[in-house]
Symmetry: D2
Subunit: 351 residues, 4 copies
């Protein structure tokens, strides 16, 4: 019963096989290999446009590099107040931008409301030279709370951003989970809705350690390759990053894996919503379940070996959602989460 | 009728005379002059302890250097969500720390509540290595809204900070105004209440351009002199900075100037509170008045040549305090603000 | 005939097998897995002391993090003027330190002379507060020119460093190649000779993408884990990094691989030194050969499909070593370089 | 006998009077005052072109901001290996650029040779993405060794820079001294010779603490105002900076002061060159004299109260110019240096 995170699980077998297959002879280093070129073409195909791609070992790297691309040191990046880039990356975006300011927005379930975003951007535009310059919006799809933006919602946010001269980045650590949840095309969920750059997450969904930063804005992004190198992020044997992602994208593997993880989460949510001992904090649309449990059930689950994280809201403006003798927990599923773990978990929670 | 800021006014005459007096012969550069040594001794006398002093040309520099002293790049600095360091210094603290995270706390009138501070610090201590490390608290005295912390309040905050391993900095851009308002000694308002470092502001209170960063913690702060130099902040003809502050501190000039400015603000506040056309947002304890005026009176004032800033709350969690046809304005007084400006202003607002 | 670099080749089979073997069930993320603990213990065993270990995806990351550990933003790091950290990492050490100064030392074959190092350190200690503070020495073993420091030479450098309060880092991108060349123990080549930290390179020697930063100095290095995260370097599925290195260290695989690569380089060097058409720039002690070839042979080699880099000295003080109609080339061997590539290369160069 | 530096002396009387005159009533802060506007116009007049101006409290700030304007974090800035920005500013340019690389060039008397510059730039252009990107050249006029570039020499350097896509900055800490030495117009020594930006130094030449960063390139330099603020460099009572420089530029005061300082240096150099006990290292063209003295005369001078700095060459490639029992010293004159100090000094050195 391991629901700690999607990254506690291993690698999908086709990805592992691709690594073995790529291990033959010599190949150009630092992105000069054929697989990297193939992957670039594959991404452009999947996203139906000319994509500029940077391969990175972690999603945090993709997020922070996108910030460096759009936000000068004296710039301001808007995000929700419990987003990964704001509180879980130890200041990676501050680091890669050279000290930009991340402005947190209160957001239920991590979904930023257009009205609040517009208000806060406007306030920060009234005092240039004293206030950091609004430069960028980052949204997470699916959010850190498993919520999924609708396409119109995304378009509304990116439109406000564009009107104020801001770029929009999407943190897609769980992009595939959101995609199969919304049921649209990759292009529709990104550049067709006004998104300029995407952290294309794969590691949480069955890859060993390979994500990509994709740009849809047609700009050169000079210097980003240099930033990759000076970040210590440019892997020399690049073919092995590309091989992972090519296998991930082949034959709809990525979508199948995400459907599997979402399905497991859905089953878990379903069971919890039917129990008198649990209540869901948000509807479950992807592969994360946030539930309030009685402390005694929580103890029982721990005793039985269940692994998951109690959750605390960390943003500056949030109130606690739990009563006394209750605990808020996060349960994450992956493509590898065994179905019997769900059954076992629900049995302990009880009806 | 200029209430735009305390820094639109000039220099107190004794300070100007001190500059002229200091302009004689050769003197050591970069702090190697006698006046700088004298000032160091004078600060230690006034604060009743061994003070470590760095002279700077701006208050922003003092604030940002204190952040660099206490907060590593991967650290977190707590401040209120409309503080000068958070929204008015273009990210100076992010810059000097190398990209630390400033965590904004909602705070009425800029006064941070101990309970909220303790809660937020605790939340950010649960995920080390992912979350930036809580390292420092910065409070403003008097606040950017003219509010003044009581000594017990300060002690309570610094005690929470210390218990969690955090240092406490006080932004004293209007330190003298707060001091005469509280009516205590400099030592009582700082290190005796647990404050480790102070941005000692003087420029807003009759000095040309000279502030000081003072440390009370007895630590060496190695490297701070180097940071001063690499910030372009180390003025070669240092004697002229020291001369300004020596004159400012002589014969209680600094306290007299602050009393003058506070008195003028008090008179203005008094008049407004008696008018049916205005309402004060907060009680006035120092040299800043925040009032809500009808838009038509605001127009009249502008037409009559009154200069001041309409104000918007910029923090992520604040609601507007104004109704329709109303405007929130900030009125700042200085030691040089003519009394007749106040009379004229009140006359236009009306009874 | 690919002599472009050791990182154009793939992964040793036992390393690949270890990845497959590690892909089973769930495991703690971000270093919380058993393999990472095992590896920590294994490194301590191999280096005969308590080692503090950070796993990274690239050697550049290890180098830059060591700089961050020892060199403050206002610090100075001494290195040779054509070292990887100085000219091939796009300023990674400047980035991770927050803008420290790398002071280049002229060095034949990348070997820093103690006398020059001592002189330059002393000069930079005479003007504190104006000059960046000497904080760290970094040496490369084997050097970027395939030269290998003797143990006494290392000890002499680290002794000067220590006497001036500087830490010593060793860039061991080709540590194994140097180790088998010197024929000593890992401990002897590092902490017993006064080295405080080591970038333990493995990727160039048969690993997919996994290096380690090792500290021997017994200090806590608080904050380095945070720096890893904010650099985007902390891989979530950490077990796969650890698995690679455990396999690399098992059964002396790493030393066997290095011996193989060095042997191939030795054979190549041997052949070139016997040819009338080539001359070696430095003796060959590890897996890199620097040779001057006539341009016509160079053209022939290229036509025959040989891949390698013409080399230019990039440091500020070096003179060219080549005559007219000559070219300086770098030839790098790896454990996978086919012996027949050497034969073919030598045949084209001629006797 | 104080020859320690030009910044140990005070302020020219007209500058002091201008400060007093500016101290009247209220004026816009942060550059919103009339004097600042007047100064901008005055600079454009003097330089015969539309100048973009930023006022700063120190020359180091001007240098570092120019680096931030032209050199990205992954960029490379070329300068001579004993320049102020390279070894005397504690890494200010590294700080303001976010960790760019300053590439030192060996240069006799601080004068960079075009051939060497072209060679080194070319080398660093061969490995983009691994090597920092050449972005900027900075030259010092007059140099830190009192040498003065001829106009053709400047044009040759800026032409190489431009051909490679680099901007050229001139550190004019002693701009006026160089100008009267060359005997040309400000425009001729800067933008007409291809210079894009100038640190216009005034503090060393009779001003209290006010320098300017001037751009001639017609570009907007968006964000530089923000960088000024986040550097803690934006002085609120800006009128007092502008007042100093307006007085400095009025009635050719600046040129008269520089002529005075140069004349005193010339007299000193003349005397030393005629002595059998001293030898000049470089011809004296501005207000600095570098001389080799016998140690016994040096002792005598110190005993008699002479103040000056023994000098050591700090660059990585320089050889010592002094024999045994000799010492290299730097003697700097200012407009305020008393003529009798020169006489006294020369008398002790002897004939």
């Amino acid at each position: 019963m391991n629901f700690a995170s999607d990254n506690v699980w291993g690698v999908a077998e086709p990805v592992m096989e691709a690594l073995q297959a790529a291990n033959d002879g010599a190949a150009g280093a630092y992105g000069g290999d054929d697989l990297t070129s193939d992957l670039q073409a594959r991404f452009s195909e999947i996203f139906e446009c000319d994509v500029t791609m940077y391969l990175v070992p972690t999603g945090t790297a993709a997020n922070a590099l996108s910030a460096a691309a759009y936000c000068p040191p004296y710039g301001m990046l808007f995000c929700h107040d419990e987003s990964h880039i704001y509180i879980d990356e130890c200041g990676a975006s501050e680091f890669y931008t050279g000290g930009a300011k991340l402005m947190p927005l209160a957001a239920n379930g991590g979904i930023i409301e257009p009205g609040l975003f517009a208000d806060v951007v406007n306030i920060h535009m009234t005092n240039p030279g004293h206030c950091s310059t609004p430069a960028m919006l980052s949204i997470t799809q699916a959010t850190e709370f498993g919520q999924v933006y609708g396409l119109d919602h995304i378009a509304e946010l990116t439109s406000i951003a564009r009107d104020h001269g801001l770029a929009t980045h999407m943190d897609g650590a769980r992009f595939a989970n959101a995609l199969v949840s919304v049921g649209c095309s990759p292009a529709e969920m990104t550049w067709k809705a006004g998104v300029d750059a995407l952290s294309f997450g794969a590691t949480k969904n069955g890859v060993m350690g390979a994500d990509a930063l994709l740009f849809f804005d047609g700009k050169p992004h000079e210097g980003l390759g240099s930033r990759l190198m000076r970040g210590g992020l440019l892997m020399s044997k690049s073919r092995f990053l590309a091989a992972q992602l090519l296998a991930y994208l082949a034959d709809n593997l990525w979508l199948d894996l995400a459907r599997q993880a979402n399905g497991t989460a859905g089953k878990l949510a379903d069971g919890l919503s039917r129990s008198t001992h649990a209540r869901l904090v948000w509807p479950v649309s992807a592969n994360e379940v946030f539930a309030v449990l009685p402390v005694d059930r929580h103890e029982k689950l721990k005793t039985a070996g269940a692994i998951y994280h109690p959750w605390m809201t960390a943003g500056p403006s949030r109130e606690s959602e739990t009563g006394q003798d209750e605990i808020l927990v996060r349960l994450v599923t992956s493509p590898s989460t065994p179905e019997k773990s769900v059954d076992e978990f629900l049995a302990i929670v009880g009806g």
